[in-house]
């Protein structure tokens, strides 16, 4: 190699060309820099989106809180922003959100966890290969379709069991919402369980433990942080779900924790206002931003809780 190189020295022009092409000012370096800057801008755009969300919500809410004191917003027990005698008690909407979310999570968390444990520890390869894509399909159904299902199918069935149930109620909406959330909880929990090293399971089986004992006392504790994230995601989905509640729960504000009553949630109130014709800049228009800010703060709180849980319970192998 060195011999042949010294035997045929490179022509001077080629040598000059190489050093020029390798210099930092060469056009290909400039082009690289420009491309990198463009790609960076695309990545940084996501930060801009977050800033824009916070800015828009805070700006409109700020005007809202100039008219409505924060204490009224937090402690008033009526929500009648569009009436002459206007009250702005977010508790009314919050109670709807919490009640429907509680019903949904009572369905989604147990079923989702059992499905995850079953798929990760019990089911054979074939069952898992069929069930996982199916769960994905279940999660891909548009929520408006779930809302239609809750209103026209589940509510009439529930009314046969419990005749006093009104046509719009939080129970039916919450149950269907729970079914909608199962795939998220199950799929993320299963990922966490499958990430537990095989050696732990083998150790457990070697001690004579059964599958169930291994699943409950070895795999679950080791996957706690991942399972907790799955639950947190489920909660965020439930709190932010809109169309199922707008269709099936009625949109009357109602301070109640009884799921068999109709009720409005933060999200369905926003839909209700958006369907009407509120002038830009009116107090009614601003209420939806205040409601949206409340929603954003709630999901942010859950996300932070998720980070903390992941840090606190993370097992490193």
């Amino acid at each position: 190699m060195t011999a042949s190189a010294s035997a045929r020295p490179l022509p001077a022009t080629v040598g000059h060309g190489i050093s020029e092409r390798l210099s930092k000012k060469a056009s290909r370096h400039v082009k690289e820099r420009i491309i990198e800057a463009v790609l960076f801008a695309a990545a940084a755009f996501s930060v801009f989106v977050t800033v824009a969300i916070v800015y828009v919500l805070v700006k409109e809410s700020w005007v809202f809180f100039q008219t409505v004191p924060l204490t009224d917003f937090l402690f008033d027990t009526q929500w009648t922003p569009l009436f002459d005698d206007a009250h702005y008690g977010i508790m009314v909407l919050l109670s709807g959100t919490l009640t429907s979310s509680a019903v949904a999570l009572l369905v989604a968390i147990p079923l989702g966890t059992i499905i995850a444990l079953y798929l990760s520890e019990f089911a054979g390869f074939k069952v898992r290969e069929i069930a996982k894509p199916f769960l994905e399909l279940l999660g891909g159904v548009p929520t408006i379709v779930y809302g239609y299902f809750a209103l026209t199918f589940l509510t009439p069935i529930l009314q046969k069991i419990y005749p006093d149930l009104p046509g719009f109620n939080l129970l039916s909406a919450g149950l269907v919402m729970g079914i909608m959330i199962i795939p998220y909880v199950a799929s993320l929990s299963e990922d966490a369980m499958r990430a537990v090293p095989m050696a732990l399971r083998e150790g457990s089986y070697a001690m004579g433990a059964t599958r169930l004992q291994t699943a409950l006392w070895v795999v679950t504790p080791a996957a706690t942080s991942g399972i907790a994230s799955a639950y947190i995601l489920g909660i965020s989905r439930a709190v932010g779900e809109t169309m199922i509640l707008a269709v099936a729960a009625g949109m009357q504000p109602n301070l109640t924790f009884n799921p068999t009553e109709p009720g409005a949630t933060i999200t369905s109130y926003i839909v209700q206002v958006a369907l009407g014709d509120l002038p830009h800049g009116s107090i009614g228009y601003q209420t939806i931003f205040a409601a949206g800010l409340t929603l954003l703060l709630m999901t942010l709180a859950f996300n932070l809780l998720g980070y903390w849980l992941r840090k606190r319970f993370r097992e490193v192998y």
Partner: protein, 308 residues
């Protein structure tokens, strides 16, 4: 020495433990069945109600006050146009961001912020994106309640999905491909455009399809920007009409989309409109299922065929 009674006790423990195993297996299958059954009932119920309405007229008629004459022409055309805007804005942006984070990003606080931010964006409820769009696109930028506003809103919503899919399919490419390319003297961009993007394109496509399937069904953010529900006309086609419409006039036209049309029909008390809602819902579910199914199939093929 093991006594016979001990042996029997151990046998009893084993039998009991195995019984619990069996019990849990059955519980697992039953739980799965809850999901399967709900989905089947939902699909079949909607098919029974809606399929008889699915005539050619249903696809070529505008919404109407009389349920029997109403159709989804403006809705499906609106959906197609909105999806076009969404795809054209979200795909380049999402892929570029994914490529930057995998191939360029230095390990520093700025990269950390971007990464944390993207996972946070994925957790923000869709209706909050609707409020952002209402404040920003509709009023601040003055796009109004148009196809452009709706398309951009949904683009922001599915951006995290596309970024994550891009990153995952890039990460699946072995390091040796990078090293080989760099060893031949390629620049970072040459490596990305000649190797990384072509090899990850199928994976990215899967993510894009899943994101688009989600965008098609999203209702809340589009209602929030104030989309009208009764649209009995189509946006101007380029160069049609008199005076001729411009090439991009349709982008600022008012519109409706499939899920909003379905919501509109669902919230009416008359039973005839519920049947229309079922028919529209069937079309909607069919579209999302087809797209998700295609994505799952693509991923399956990908896993089967690629052996690095």
């Amino acid at each position: 020495m093991l006594q016979a009674t001990d042996l029997n006790a151990i046998r009893a423990i084993i039998t009991r433990a195995k019984r619990w195993d069996l019990f849990f297996s059955i519980l697992g299958v039953l739980s799965l069945m809850v999901g399967v059954l709900t989905f089947t009932v939902l699909f079949v119920d909607m098919a029974i109600q809606g399929v008889p309405r699915l005539t050619l007229d249903f696809f070529t008629s505008f919404p109407s006050r009389r349920a029997a004459n109403a159709g989804i022409l403006s809705a499906w055309v609106g959906t197609v146009l909105v999806m076009l805007v969404t795809a054209l804005s979200a795909v380049p942006l999402g892929v570029a961001a994914g490529v930057y984070l995998e191939e360029y990003a230095p390990k520093n606080w700025m990269t950390d912020i971007i990464e944390i931010n993207i996972s946070n964006l994925a957790g923000i409820p869709s209706i909050v994106y609707g409020l952002l769009a209402l404040g920003l696109f509709v009023y601040y930028f003055g796009f109004g309640q148009s196809i452009l506003s709706a398309g951009l809103t949904l683009a922001l919503l599915i951006l995290p999905v596309i970024i994550v899919a891009t990153r995952e399919s890039i990460r699946a490419i072995p390091q040796s491909i990078h090293e080989g390319s760099y060893a031949c003297g390629a620049t970072t961009w040459q490596t990305v455009s000649d190797h990384i993007l072509p090899y990850s394109s199928a994976g990215i496509l899967t993510g894009v399809i899943i994101g688009m399937a989600r965008a098609i069904g999203e209702t809340a953010p589009i209602i929030t920007i104030g989309a009208l529900t009764f649209i009995a006309f189509l946006p101007n086609a380029p160069f049609a009409g008199d005076p001729p419409a411009g090439l991009f006039d349709w982008i600022l036209a008012p519109f409706t989309v499939m899920p909003i049309q379905m919501f509109n029909w669902t919230s009416r008390p008359e039973a005839e409109f519920q049947i229309n809602a079922a028919a529209a819902g069937f079309v909607l579910v069919f579209m999302t299922l087809a797209m998700n199914g295609l994505a799952i199939y693509l991923r399956y093929q990908l896993r089967k065929n690629i052996k690095w």
